[in-house]
Point group: D2
Chain length 109, copies 4
């Protein structure tokens, strides 16, 4: 079994043991992901990235990923496939010759 499937299976098992599927509708999963994204950001507040504690980043990033995988599972998305599709779309929005070395957003390129 592949990585993402294995992680997702563990997350689902954890959820089901606690009878939490009733709370895990897609909207609340997206809300939960945003809350965790905010906690991840807190690792960098008032400081340079060198000063952020990797342990804090690790914990909060894991929470973000957990909700991302649970949300993908809810919709039956194949995580690898949706990432590869998105990379393909971004390659069109950000062609190498225009985007190289600049952080400008695609609609201003």
């Amino acid at each position: 079994m592949k990585d993402i499937e294995e992680i997702t299976a563990k997350l689902i098992e954890f959820r089901n043991e606690r009878d939490w599927e009733q709370f895990h509708n897609p909207k609340d999963l997206a809300v939960a992901l945003n809350i965790e994204a905010g906690e991840l950001l807190e690792a960098f507040l008032w400081k340079s990235h060198e000063e952020a504690k990797p342990e804090k980043v690790k914990e909060e990033l894991a929470d973000v990923l957990a909700y991302a995988f649970l949300l993908a599972e809810k919709y039956g998305f194949d995580v690898k496939q949706i990432l590869l599709e998105k990379i393909g779309k971004n390659a069109e929005k950000y062609p190498v010759d225009k985007a190289k070395g600049t952080a400008t957003k695609y609609n201003e390129l």
Copy 2:
């Protein structure tokens, strides 16, 4: 090669072709992840989860995951391992007998 490694390799290749590593410090990656998390949330704004468009959810979730994988790579985190560790910690914070069927936060259980 495993799923997550393969996706991450593609993301790094995309980034390097555009010479974007200079912008991708951990703090800005966490900022980018938060912006994408907000766009994901927009799929559910003013509506029930049934009304959200899966296509929009898919695109924004892919963006969130992309920055999550890039941030993990920056710190050298093994995504599978940090998820499994976090599930272990959460199992202690939310023991089945106390947490079953309730959405109460661990510090109020």
Copy 3:
């Protein structure tokens, strides 16, 4: 003195007594505002809006507003004026005859 000026003066006084202006650059203020916005959202996680505790909403909303006023002050924005300008712009993006009774985003109206 008007409300917003009075609140802002208090926030600046609080900040200066603690010698915190050194941390309060606009980027970190925007980061802080996002973290607090996430905490506000937590008041509604896994629940309907009727179940959210007003006391929690009040505290987190106050934090969001504090950083919003501090950020406005940094740029010398007049909060009342920028709000009235924005309402004017939104009135053009969402004309009453098209937008009435629908939550559709302006670019899809």
Copy 4:
């Protein structure tokens, strides 16, 4: 009439003309505020705060404030009062002698 009351009255008028109160439950207002907070953050992405465009900051900050005022109105909060209360609480969490010149969070002071 005071600043905040005047702004809030305008926001309510704008909302009611469009018959949008039906969408503006507290949970979705908090969701909307988070989305706008993410857009505000985008003004600073991949750049130092000096490079952010004040015009973009102004627009997004106005959106954040609009939802914050609408949410306060929903709960009948007096914005000035909740801010002054919060400043009072923070003064206890961050006493000047301990907090001066340090960005450390109160629970680690």
